[in-house]
Structures are given as structure tokens and as C-alpha cells.
Symmetry: C2
Subunit: 251 residues, 2 copies
Amino acid sequence: MFSVFVVPARYQLIYWPTLQGRGEFVRLVLEDVGLPYDDLARQAESNGAGGAVVVERMLSHKTQHPLFAPPILKIDELVIAQTPNILWWLGRNHNLWPIEEALCLLAMQVQLTIADLVTEVHDTHHPIALGHHYEDQMQAACKRSVQFLSARLPLFLQHLEDILSASGGVYMIGKTITTVDLSTFQVLEGLEYAFPKGFAYASHRTTKLHALRDRIRQRPRLAAYLASNRRIPFNEQGIFRRYPELDRLTE
Amino acid sequence: MFSVFVVPARYQLIYWPTLQGRGEFVRLVLEDVGLPYDDLARQAESNGAGGAVVVERMLSHKTQHPLFAPPILKIDELVIAQTPNILWWLGRNHNLWPIEEALCLLAMQVQLTIADLVTEVHDTHHPIALGHHYEDQMQAACKRSVQFLSARLPLFLQHLEDILSASGGVYMIGKTITTVDLSTFQVLEGLEYAFPKGFAYASHRTTKLHALRDRIRQRPRLAAYLASNRRIPFNEQGIFRRYPELDRLTE
């Protein structure tokens, strides 16, 4: 008789160490599933090394698999980049993705729409130049933010509410939880942090979404994560930034 | 003996009728594969009905499958939205997607990075408000465009060149053609149309990309399509717009 030792796959996340950003959508899945993972840049940071260097080294490394931006998830030899791509892979491998083809396509559709929403949130504070400081584009940011909160955010939230209603009101896609529910939770948390007034305005009719967010927050592993110091607090380095001058519905 | 008649699936594209936009990434795949398809809004338009109404009706229709934006592809009962999602489905079903898992993940990664690039191109002429005219945000557009052409576009193009080099220089992903090659072709065409000077600057070292673009253009079905009146010319309603004041590398 032989004993067979199966070495579990090693999950390694590479993302900026001091902010939630797009990496948080991946962290939430790993935490909800209860997968042990190495958050490489944060580990380097807490060891006194520069965590950002870990990310930059990964991006500049010339390999068979060029990378443009984090988050990046490594599973042994497999390298996955682009948030919706990572979520899709994790979802399919850890029971957080639908089975039926039409629902798979709907899940990816909504995951991509959430990614579009996240990009629009980012552009409220960086409408001109990604590489420049917020303070250098504040005037344009104020204008873009008014447009976002008054014209775009209500559309996005109503659409997400419609998706949730169409599936019966409990989960975003079909009758079981998927990565889309976790991403919806995160985007609602971030919007309320960044735009307390604008979010209240845009979400006052999306009651099913609010209830979903409360249910997701109470999932045991997620609740434990959110209460731990592994959850980086929202801050003004991330995508969801609280700048009071941007939380306005009129100029 | 029975005769079995297989009714071929009917492909219906729903997209704005007077511009290439994101719909063109889908049209290129349908044309390259040689799939007959109904371009519903364009057909309505050429019949004297308002083609945009077809799109708006589709988006506002409350069904089991809420939709946020075109392009939308219908295949009998299946409804697919979000460009990378549509391309993934078409690619898998029509021999334009890799088989091996690592290459599938790489293909989706690059497809999503191209989608990000397209969004950044769009924001050069609409940095403040999606729903307002270009002329009302021209000053901010000039600033954003300089940043895009000088800082962002060279990064994107070098990354796409690196992807192509890593796969051996003939196809973007692996050793066979995928939707990623067709999307890369389209984005290069659009960039050269919109920013003749900026594109020349940002792409002067990406020689493999230029060669790929030339090879794709000569694929027989694609060449026939590009020469036909089914190909809507680039214009100033789409994503790639030629505004000379935006084609500058310094303010």
C-alpha cells in the first residue's frame, strides 16, 4: 500500500499592500471560501520590506505571461490577471459560479458591469491623469463626480436591483451564491464609504440590494474577516475615497 | 427513414446603428467566421425605422435577463451582453479561443485589457460626462488626451507587443488565431484613425503589432467585409474620434 500525499495548491495574491482596491474583490472570495492564501505584498510590508516592490517586480518581469496590472493570483504554476477573470476562475473552482450556460453568461455580464462601475468610481477622483495627484485635478473631479452621482450611479444601482429581482431577490444570479454577490457587497460598502450622501440618494429605492448586503456581511467567514486586521480599512489611496467635496449632487 | 432538418441558430446583434463602437469587436468575429447574422438596429435603420429605438427597447425591456448596455448578441434563446463575454462565447463556439486552461485565462486577460484601453480612449473625448456633448468638456478632454497619448497609450501598446512576442510573434495567444487578434486589429485601426500623430509616437517600436495588423487585414472574409458597406466608417459618434485638438503630446 502506498500513502498518497496530495499537496494542496498554494494561492498567492499579488496586490498593492496598503489599499483595498480591485484586489479586495479577490480577497473577499478567498476569505469567504476559507482558502489559505499568501497576500505577498502585505507580507513583505509587514516584514519591513517594501510591499509595492513585490507588485512592481511581478509586473516588470518578462516572462511567457506578460502582466499589465494587479491584482494577480498565482496558483502553483497558473497565473491569472484581471479581476473578473480571477473571480471567474475562483468561482468555478470553489462552488461560487453557476453551472447552467445562460447563468454563467449572466454572471460574467454582471461581473463586468461591476468592473465598469468600479472604473467610473475611480475616475471621479482621477478624471484627467491616472498618474497625477488628486489635488491637481480636483476641479475636473468635482464636475465628474456630480455627473457620476446624479446620472450614472442611479442607473447602475437600479440595474443591479433589477438583476437581483429577476433572480428572485435572494442571490444576484440564479438560486445560489456566486462571486457576483460578494462583488456587489463590496461595491455597496465602498460607495457608502466614499459618497454617504450620493449613495443614499442613488440607492433609496434599491431595497433588495441593501438586504443582500446585510445578508452577505453576516456570512460567518466573511464577518470574521471584516472584523480582523486582514481587512484593510477604506482609505484615500484606494478606489473608494471619501472626499467631501466630491459627494455632491449639484455643482 | 426520417429526414432530420437541423435549423441553424440565428445570430442577432443589437448595437447602435450608425457607429462602430464596441459592437464592431463582435461584428469582426461574426464576419471573420462567416456567420450570417442580423444586425437588427441597422436593418431597422435601412428600412426607415429608427435603429436606435431597437437598442433602447431591448435595454428597457424588463425580463429575466436585465441588460445595461449594448452590444448584445442573441442566439435563439440565449442572450449575451458585455463585449468580452460575447467574444469569449463566440470564440469558444467557433474555433477562435484556446483550449488549454492557462491560454484561456491569458486570452481573457488580454481581452479585458483591450476593453480597458477602449474605455480610456472613450474618456479622452468624454472625461467629465458621458451624457454631455464633447464640445462642453473639450478643455478637460484636451488635458486627458495629452495624458493618455504620452503616458498611457505607450504602456498599453508595449504590453500588447510583449504579449505577442511571448507567444512567438504570429498570434497574440498561443499558436492559433483567437478573438484577441481580431480585437487587437480593431483597436490599432481605431487608434490610428483617432490619433494619427499620437499613435505613430506610441507605436513606433511595436513592429510585431503592425505586422499582425497587416496580416489580419488580409484574411479573406475580413478583407471582403472591410471593403463592403457593412463596415461603418470610423466617425465622430464612435469611440475612436478624430479631433485634431486631442491628437497632441503636450498641452
